[in-house]
Symmetry: C2
Subunit: 438 residues, 2 copies
């Protein structure tokens, strides 16, 4: 079953719309005329067409679909391939492994990432990888919403041939133009450079100019580790955010990934409406990257989303786990309500960070029908006094029952509809064995 | 169904026995004559009696039952009642809440803790709480193995009446003697004092003497926060472990909870075979307690178990989540294999820490039949190259299919057998609403 033209009614659900009012609504019906939400109203008060497909919302929570603000779907097959490696030795392990990957390995890895994200209630993800060409068709077929980029990394940014980077930039521009708006508008593209330690400033400037010319956003890793920041200070005499500012990138819609090691001046510099950040606590932990200044960033109302980063550095694409980590990893001040803050990050905050808040991130009439139903039925959720705290502290991807994107039901009561989970498992197991052994 | 005398055969399973060899065994059968494991052998090679109950082990992992080295089951109903509070203000919130609890609230909280732990594959837990009297019957009825204590805390250890503490010590001794060996030997008791900041040294000495006389072990919180250590240094001129040593407690089988802020001298002092430690990463995160020196403790081969602490400071009793946290929260050196280390902590390490390694903690003929079957069937486990890393990085309590204690099947293919999950849910919801609102 692919896109269905029939309306959908979610009947008698507790909705956490993440709308500006901040209200939680008990006993509401949500009406969907794909691809949009057309109404939220008290149960039984909406007039519905005869062919309306009914989803029982009782004992479930309806939430905006989760937004994964940072991923690299194409390398998913390398999941659990490493442990106990900080970012720099981890990259030294990862990069040769990536070179062993065939395009079909990336395709099936992206399929698996989409399957896992569908299961986890992630309806939108921001993805960047050099190997994006074979992944994009998988992402399109999976029916998820995505912001995708073919990321550029120079082989030798300091002594190598600048023409190589320039050629990669051109390929990534061509890719971004070709894929913009595909999948019925679910796919949007951005330009992406990997990081200030793998791309020279001249190429970053060329990026900024191309993005401005094409009216595209950009995304880049930024200040992920102490080593990165110290290297940038030594080579360029400024922090990574300051360098990005010098290159013109902070004038564009920009999504900065990680932003772990920020100075006070960096935070001031990044506090502008066109800048989004992704916070990736699971990846930052596994790669021993350090702890972001999250409560300050959120307190200043920067557009901060939550990300899983790749499955290779995480090892799950479980955004509810990232909610939990973001709530407990930081010394949130008493009364700051981290459970609500992290839920915002995973929904409307991520939508803002990705520049999509006009379309997704909350359950409101007129927005795209990207939403999920969560069922808190396991003993770990009992006694269940507070649904927002349950989502932050006791929920996991396995609690997501139903995932809807653009009004298409991609998973219903834990049954995956559009994707062929059996085929994906079979393909991925064989390919991972070739890549990782075991 | 309660204890069954029929033998059980787990057929054709992949076993991770956590035995000294460290081997993983594919395609084995595990034979159980309750309450013991009687054989592990290649599939199809064992002769079995006609009334043997067969469990299909295909596509499952068999592991020793998980050991939760630290909990406070009686306050489970206060789960998700607080957030963003460090230990000291959290205790100021918790203690008056505890005073509102009726004995039946503790009983049903303990029931819920047992239900959640059965679901999570926890077969043994070490529990201490002042309100243990109403909890013990729940723990006995649930069929889990437990080391339990009625914990003593003085109302005013520095200026109050010492007779009050002495009377509490006597009640706790009477409790420990009365409950020792109950539940067909599944329940063992220890004496417990809360911590060096709530019990004066004279009473700690009286504890040590009583435990030595009765040949009992002890358990106590130790060096959980910086505040605790600094207070102990200021009042007593020594660290909490050194003070416990002065009071004679380190000569006994002792289980120290948290051990977050240890000096080099503390670690040397605690490096002796009668000392066990519980590491509680989820609780240490939520209460902003700091980060234990775990890789060093494990590297020196101290008996370190993993604990959830109470559901109030966690908020789940999901030991597989604690495995994950312990694997990613610490800067494990490259090559140190944190996934194996944390799996050891959750099984044989916890058994050592609780003084039960002769009976449980590994799958070996002659040991008690405390074991679990785990099913890694969710997309998040794919592609599944390494079962030990999957257990550490991608598994959660919801992946546990079957839980067996003393050869009794407490959960089979996710169906809870002994406990009445519906009744527990109903009782706990009503009582939590009274205690927490909502």
């Amino acid at each position: 079953m692919s896109a269905s033209p029939s309306p959908i009614l979610i009947r008698d659900v507790t909705a956490i719309p993440m709308a500006p009012s901040g209200q939680i609504l008990d006993h509401v019906d949500i009406l969907i005329h794909p691809p949009r939400i057309t109404a939220l109203a008290p149960t039984g008060t909406l007039t519905i067409a005869e062919d309306t497909y009914i989803l029982d919302g009782r004992d479930k929570l309806a939430l905006p679909g989760l937004v994964n603000a940072h991923s690299h779907a194409g390398i998913t097959l390398l999941k659990t391939g490493s442990e106990a490696l900080p970012l720099e030795p981890w990259l030294a392990w990862l990069i040769p492994k990536q070179l062993e990957m065939e395009p079909d390995d990336c395709y099936w890895g992206a399929m698996l990432a989409c399957l896992e994200q569908t299961r986890a209630g992630i309806t939108t993800f921001a993805d960047m990888i050099a190997l994006q060409e074979p992944c994009a068709p998988a992402i399109e077929q999976a029916g998820l919403r995505a912001v995708i980029s073919m990321s550029v990394m120079e082989r030798d940014p300091w002594d190598g041939d600048p023409a190589e980077g320039q050629a990669r930039l051109e390929r990534s521009i061509e890719f971004a133009q070709r894929w913009q708006g595909r999948g019925g508008g679910r796919i949007t593209t951005r330009l992406a450079a990997h990081a200030v330690y793998t791309v020279r400033p001249g190429l970053l400037r060329a990026y900024a100019e191309a993005a401005a010319r094409l009216q595209m956003g950009v995304q880049i890793h930024c200040s992920e580790t102490r080593v990165e920041v110290d290297g940038c200070l030594a080579r360029h005499g400024r922090t990574p955010p300051a360098l990005l500012g010098d290159c013109g990138l902070l004038e564009l819609p920009i999504l900065l990934h990680h932003a772990v090691h920020l100075t006070d001046d960096d935070i001031t510099l990044l506090d502008r409406p066109n800048v989004g950040l992704s916070h990736n606590p699971g990846s930052n932990l596994k790669l021993q990257s350090g702890r972001a200044r999250l409560p300050e960033l959120v307190g200043r109302q920067l557009a901060v989303g939550l990300g899983t980063d790749s499955a290779v550095s995480n090892d799950t694409l479980d955004l509810l786990k990232e909610l939990y980590l973001a709530a407990v990893l930081h010394d949130w001040p008493p009364g700051s309500g981290p459970s609500w803050r992290v839920l915002e990050m995973a929904t409307i905050g991520g939508a803002r960070a990705l520049g999509l808040a006009d379309r997704i991130g909350s359950l409101e009439a007129g927005k795209r029908a990207d939403l999920i139903l969560v069922e808190l039925s396991e003993p770990r959720h009992l006694p269940g006094s507070d649904p927002v705290r349950q989502l932050a502290y006791t929920a996991r991807s396995s609690d997501v029952a139903t995932t809807i994107v653009d009004g298409e039901i991609l998973m219903e009561d834990r049954v995956i509809r559009r994707l062929d989970a059996v085929e994906i498992a079979r393909e991925c197991r064989v390919r991972a064995r070739r890549l990782l052994g075991g």
